[in-house]
């Protein structure tokens, strides 16, 4: 049985979507469905062959104009390729380095954390300015909830700085990476490069226990814009998993879509 979303591969391949929102909604579905993605790709290749049926011999004047124009048209450089894993690794290394020296504490450690983030930005060619950490730092300056966030920041730093923290990383469906550091019953999820979401959608985290799934809250709203983010997850037991799914931005009581990433805590 082909469901409503799946049947859209043809529409998508022909770019016959109603508008940009619908295009993104379909793209989101494809992101969570490897089979649909492959189908859309092959159908797009098929559609591209239809142009052969219309092919015409171009007049020589078109050739002349094109070559005259390219002679004075500079070419764009390739888009910078930033692999989130690279940044994430360097971040982890920095965090471990801090804890290794045994001096990291409070503001001093946070400063180095921000410095590490800056290094990541340089390493990543600028595209990673949003690597979550920046939000952490900004959050600390926010007027309301300042102290709560401060303590969250500290907890995040404590987990990342724990040399005994367990680390799991996966490539999310649709792209990007998610990494989970677990220390005791607390975990930090770092996500980078996950797809942007259409309006009204958000990433939501879940703790998956042997016989229940509990919400661990919505990701920061900037996550839906494609920015990297991090989130503290509490109440994680041995053998549990942490999952990320796409939900309405108001959040769901239980996951309503296939998770884009599942990480063993």
């Amino acid at each position: 049985m082909v469901d409503e979303d799946h049947v859209m591969t043809g529409v998508y391949a022909l770019d016959a979507v109603q508008d940009d929102l619908e295009r993104r909604t379909v793209a989101l579905h494809l992101a969570g469905c490897a089979h649909c993605r492959e189908e859309a790709r092959s159908l797009r290749e098929t559609a591209a062959m239809l142009a052969a049926d219309a092919a015409l011999t171009p007049p020589a004047s078109l050739h002349d104009r094109v070559f005259e124009q390219i002679a004075r048209t500079p070419q764009e450089p390739p888009l910078p390729v930033i692999h989130p894993a690279v940044a994430e690794l360097s971040l982890a290394r920095n965090a471990r380095h801090d804890s290794g020296r045994g001096t990291g504490r409070g503001a001093g450690r946070a400063t180095r954390w921000v410095a590490a983030a800056a290094a990541v930005v340089i390493l990543g060619g600028g595209g990673l300015a949003a690597y979550g950490v920046v939000q952490l730092d900004r959050a600390r300056q926010a007027q309301d909830q300042a102290s709560r966030l401060q303590s969250q920041t500290d907890r995040v730093l404590a987990i990342l700085g724990d040399p005994a923290a367990r680390r799991a990383t996966v490539t999310a469906t649709g792209g990007g990476t998610a990494t989970l550091y677990t220390s005791g019953s607390q975990a930090v999820l770092l996500a980078a490069g996950l797809p942007r979401l259409p309006n009204g959608r958000a990433y939501q985290l879940w703790v998956v226990r042997p016989n229940q799934v509990v919400s661990a809250g919505l990701a920061p709203s900037t996550a839906a814009g494609g920015q990297a983010w991090n989130q503290l997850v509490t109440g994680v037991g041995r053998g549990d998993a942490v999952a990320i799914s796409v939900e309405p931005s108001t959040g769901s009581a239980q996951p309503t879509t296939t998770p884009v990433a599942v990480l063993k805590a």
């Binding site: 082909v2 043809g10 529409v11 591209a48 062959m49 239809l50 092919a55 015409l56 764009e76």
Partner: protein, 204 residues
């Protein structure tokens, strides 16, 4: 005519048979990589391969010959300009240029619809159309033959829906209105029609 008096020619073809591919034997990925490095002779081969399809597609969408040439020129220059951004992981060069050409042509149609229709009609009337020549490229003609054969294997509704969406630039909703069929039917026909085409044409 070449003959025994031209030994160099024989020598060159000998070299070819040893296995040094000439530029026009390179595959699309290698060609576009070269284009990305500013290689105009590689772009010449890309032009030979894709200009007929780009122009033909744009012309089918736009109808107006003068505007079609303008748009085809824009697309080809765009291929040159953005060559380094082509990502083979996302699909073939053919799919990339086709998508670009189709979007540009449809944008132009919509802009024309938004502009004063009389101006557009006047501009179209002023142009003396060249007579259209089907592409003489053997490769393209074989592909066109295959497309036509496989389109013949579709149901009328599948074929109409696909052609309206692809060449007409209509959304599924518009196709549904035009053909007076339920939206769900159109979505399904677009998909199963394309699947049948794909399987018939042996697209990987």
């Amino acid at each position: 005519m070449s003959g025994p008096t031209e030994p160099s020619r024989g020598g060159r073809s000998g070299l070819r048979s040893v296995g040094l591919p000439t530029l026009d034997q390179q595959d699309d990925e290698e060609l576009i990589r070269r284009v990305a490095r500013g290689d105009t002779s590689a772009f010449e081969v890309v032009y030979q391969r894709y200009a007929p399809r780009i122009l033909g597609l744009v012309r089918r969408v736009l109808r107006d010959p003068a505007q079609s040439e303008e748009v085809a020129q824009e697309v080809l220059v765009e291929v040159w300009r953005l060559a380094a951004r082509f990502d083979p992981a996302q699909g073939s060069l053919r799919a990339w240029v086709t998508t670009m050409a189709r979007r540009r042509a449809i944008d132009r149609v919509r802009a024309a619809q938004a502009a004063d229709a009389r101006d557009v009609a006047a501009a179209a009337a002023q142009h003396t159309p060249d007579f259209d020549q089907v592409s003489e490229s053997v490769e393209i003609r074989l592909e066109a033959e295959r497309v036509r054969h496989c389109l013949g294997g579709l149901t009328g509704l599948q074929r109409e829906s696909i052609e309206l969406a692809f060449f007409g630039g209509y959304s599924h909703r518009e196709v549904s209105d035009l053909l007076e069929q339920p939206l769900g039917t159109i979505k399904t026909r677009l998909r199963d029609g394309l699947i049948r085409l794909r399987d018939c044409m042996g697209v990987a």
